[in-house]
């Protein structure tokens, strides 16, 4: 990526303030500028106001929000800079899609499901009178589809959004944004939800287009690793303010602000990690043999076998649709439609929890992906954590209470939170509570299904640290299911790579990361952005 020094910035935002209609501030004076051909990454965790800041660049404010000061100056390719916020609705509309373009976070929601994609792209051109004739516009539609690496033929254009994959949908969104050759593009987390390989493709497309056409890009993301892959400069947002801004290299290498430092440290890195507890390794706690699951013709798991020793952590790696969640649910007894065996310390487990003994149920525990849905919103934390004891032990009430309190201590959750409902806790606290519920019966095997993917990076780091500590304290065997290979060195001893329902590679973390044997593993590693 070449950084040109531009004479004028394509977009300048200064002291932008946005309030809710009730008056509480969302943006507290945000300023940034982007030169043509430059990519500025706007980084922040959820609730930092980064999307609001991005949309404000187009003079758009979501329902309930209103600008409360500051200026947004955009420079069209062929005209004088204009103050976007000072324009009337009509003039703003003329800018949008033409000078200022937007690529939304979730293309599945942002493409009109009832319109063919060709039509949706052509629409932008028509709205802004691009080209002199219908033919010219049709040609441009085909051209821009080609630019984002999609087929440009009539047939493809006649497809509906739901007939495309997520990556294709996102590229249609990008095509739409670039159709009118805008001078500024705002990309709002365009790769969230895409697997790493697709993410790389999309990132490349964006980089190529911005560079080629001299477009100023505002790239909104929470992922610092992505930032390092695409951005020229970075602005770090927190609580409606930009806390640090500078060249990408500089900020990521030598963060000045404490928050930035915290963020950078929290980012899991393929090369980082270490300091993991040594597994005692001799007792084989969990053995899965020849596990297969099919739904009709569709085979979700094919003859999967793996073992986990006590105190050991296995990283089960797979992208969405690889069957990793199915596999962990089979082990937990939540999916009884499988063949093959699951053994716990040499004893075969029944496929369904209903047939397993209380002891077996106590021994295998499961932590769900989202702490927002895994706790009954109508019960207090203590009540939820107590449920396994109530169902699976004969302990009297007082003893159960005691156990719950101990376990909450163990997951570093303040006892004062015990009486609260999940709604009243933060995401990290909830996930700790969920972990407490899984640990309250002192299981031998703990299955963690993407337990950090719904959490911000900084929270993710603390949860991972907690799990490592607990594993050391309790000697629990752990299966850590994730799509993020970057976490490997931070949690796991061994790694098993699942693809299309098959384990394609397995081995100690260090071996697999440094010398992947399978093509797929190599591809994954290559596409994972590093800091």
């Amino acid at each position: 990526m070449t950084t040109q020094v531009a004479v004028t910035n394509a977009l300048e935002v200064s002291e932008l303030r946005v309030h809710t209609l009730a008056g509480s501030p969302v943006l507290k004076g945000v300023s940034y500028a982007i030169a043509p051909g430059e990519v500025l990454a706007l980084v922040g965790e959820s609730g930092s106001g980064k999307t609001t800041a991005g949309l404000a660049a187009l003079g758009h404010f979501r329902r309930g929000l209103a600008p409360a000061g500051g200026a947004v100056t955009a420079s069209p390719r062929d005209g004088e800079p204009v103050d976007v916020l000072g324009l009337g609705e009509r003039e703003r509309r003329a800018l949008r899609g033409h000078t200022l373009a937007y690529v939304p976070q979730d293309p599945a929601l942002s493409l009109n499901p009832a319109l063919r994609i060709g039509r949706q792209i052509a629409e932008v051109l028509e709205a802004h009178g691009y080209g002199a004739s219908g033919e010219e516009r049709a040609a441009r539609v085909a051209e821009v589809l080609g630019e984002v690496g999609l087929p440009a033929d009539e047939n493809y254009q006649r497809r509906y959004p739901h007939q495309l994959s997520g990556g294709q949908q996102q590229r249609v969104g990008i095509a739409m944004a670039f159709a009118c050759r805008p001078s500024v593009v705002v990309l709002d987390e365009p790769t969230t939800g895409l697997d790493v390989t697709t993410q790389t493709l999309v990132l490349r497309t964006v980089a190529a287009l911005t560079a080629e056409h001299g477009v100023a890009a505002l790239y909104i993301t929470h992922d610092l690793a992505v930032v390092s892959a695409i951005a020229d400069r970075v602005a770090v947002m927190r609580g409606g303010e930009i806390v640090e801004c500078g060249a990408a290299e500089e900020v990521l290498r030598r963060p000045a602000h404490a928050y930035t430092r915290e963020l950078v440290d929290a980012v899991p890195d393929l090369d980082g990690g270490g300091g993991l507890p040594e597994p005692d390794g001799d007792t084989e706690t969990l053995r899965v043999t020849g596990l297969s699951v099919s739904y009709g013709e569709h085979r979700v798991l094919r003859d999967v076998s793996l073992t986990v020793h006590s105190g050991e952590c296995l990283l089960l790696l797979g992208e969405s649709g690889s069957g990793k969640t199915t596999l962990s649910r089979c082990v937990a007894g939540l999916n009884e439609h499988h063949t093959g065996t699951v053994e716990l310390a040499g004893t075969a487990l029944a496929p369904s929890t209903r047939r397993r003994t209380a002891e077996e149920l106590r021994a295998v525990q499961y932590v769900f992906q989202s702490p927002y849905s895994s706790l009954n919103p109508r019960r207090t934390i203590a009540q939820s954590v107590e449920v396994p004891l109530e169902m699976l032990t004969e302990l009297p009430k007082a003893a159960r209470r005691e156990r719950v309190a101990e376990t909450l201590d163990r997951v570093r959750l303040s006892r004062t939170l015990a009486g609260r409902l999940p709604d009243q806790l933060s995401g990290g606290e909830r996930q700790r509570a969920a972990i407490a519920r899984a640990l309250v019966t002192t299981p031998k095997v703990l299955l963690c299904d993407e337990v950090t993917s719904a959490l911000d990076v900084s929270v993710q780091a603390t949860i991972i640290d907690l799990l490592c500590e607990l594993r050391a304290e309790l000697g629990t065997a752990m299966v850590f299911v994730t799509h993020n290979i970057a976490l490997a060195r931070h949690v796991a001893d061994r790694i098993a790579v699942l693809r299309g329902g098959e384990i394609v590679e397995t081995g100690p973390v260090g071996d697999v990361l440094s010398a992947p044997r399978h093509e797929y593993t190599r591809e994954l590693l290559a596409n994972t952005p590093r800091m």
Binding site: L55, L58, H60, R62, R63, E89, R93, A94, L95, R96, G97, H98, A101, Y102, P104, D106, L109, S110, L111, N112, P113, A114, L115, E123, V124, A127, H128, Y160, H162, Q163, G173, M176
Partner: protein, 318 residues
């Protein structure tokens, strides 16, 4: 897609069949002997026997059901106990009269409801929106006869004596020959239904206006009118069609009270009379008729839903 529609059609047919079964069984439970009711106290045993045979009452229940069903399928609804004439004759004009009422109320309430709902959604949070919401909330709560009586007091008897409060069809003339008589019944029905359509349209439209693709369309710089017509409206129609259908189907039942109130010579009034007279065949015919309208309207709504959903529409091409 066509498979889906055929499937939906079959379900409707099955439900309709179950309804005929239910209606038939229900009327079997009616107390009183229809033959005695027809012939009266002086009936001789011979005449009773003859009429029983004529009405198939001695046949086994299933055979009577099949006969009745056969009649229904071929459009013969039997003979009314009360008038001793064919039910078809009794209901013929009344069905027409009720349909006039229903269609007029449906068209009026749909148009007004969609317009008000959209208007309200576009002005969300403003005074106009609050006014529309408040009024529709109040009207939606009122039972139809309360609205009807209120309208009579307001527009017919007490405040502004402008309109007739009862329908008086001169013999041989259709009800619509005097449109002023239709105003109050239609207005009552429309007032009952419009708030629901308005509220649903407002809610759906608000949701659609908040959706990613409408925001995206606006961020693409598409003119507001196009955003509304091309991006928002088509997505609101599907869910709202369901509610409209539900409301129209509801109208089929609501006409009963409204027709009774305004002495409107439709099937609803005939149903009340038939219930009072224990006129089995007429009760059967009308409940079946109303159920059929209900089922067909819902079927149409579902088909509209299927047709406006591109995912379902393009299923075959996948």
């Amino acid at each position: 897609m066509s498979r889906l529609i055929v499937r939906r059609l079959l379900v409707s047919l099955a439900v309709l069949w179950l309804v005929t079964l239910l209606v038939f069984v229900a009327t079997l439970l009616l107390p009183g002997d229809p033959v005695r009711a027809i012939l009266g106290q002086q009936a001789t045993p011979e005449r009773i026997a003859a009429l029983r045979a004529q009405l198939d009452l001695d046949a086994p229940v299933w055979e009577r059901y099949l006969n009745w069903l056969g009649g229904v399928v071929t459009g013969d609804l039997g003979t009314s106990t009360a008038t001793q004439g064919p039910v078809n004759d009794l209901l013929g004009d009344r069905i027409g009269a009720s349909l006039v009422l229903l269609v007029a109320a449906a068209v009026l309430s749909t148009l007004v409801g969609l317009a008000l709902g959209t208007w309200s959604a576009l002005r969300r949070g403003r005074a106009a929106d609050h006014t529309v919401s408040g009024i529709s909330l109040v009207i939606a709560a009122l039972p139809e006869f309360v609205i009807g009586v209120a309208l009579i007091v307001l527009l017919s008897t007490t405040v502004f004596p402008l309109l007739p409060s009862v329908t008086l069809a001169p013999p041989g003339e259709p009800v619509w020959s005097q449109p002023s008589q239709l105003v109050l019944p239609v207005l009552t029905l429309a007032l009952v239904v419009t708030p629901y359509i308005t509220r649903m349209m407002r809610a759906t439209m608000s949701e659609v206006l908040d959706s990613g693709y409408v925001e995206m369309a606006r961020l693409k710089g598409i003119p507001e009118k196009t955003v509304l017509l091309r991006h928002a409206l088509p997505h609101a129609i599907g869910p709202v069609a369901q509610v409209i259908a539900l409301q129209l189907a509801w109208l089929a039942g609501g006409v009963v009270v409204v027709e009774f109130l305004f002495r409107y010579p439709g099937v609803g009034q005939a149903l009340i009379d038939a219930v009072n007279n224990r006129d089995v065949e007429v009760v059967q015919a009308i409940t079946l008729l109303i159920a059929a309208v209900y089922i067909v309207v819902n079927l149409l709504a579902d088909i509209v839903g299927i047709l406006t959903n591109p995912k379902l529409r393009t299923e075959v091409t996948r």
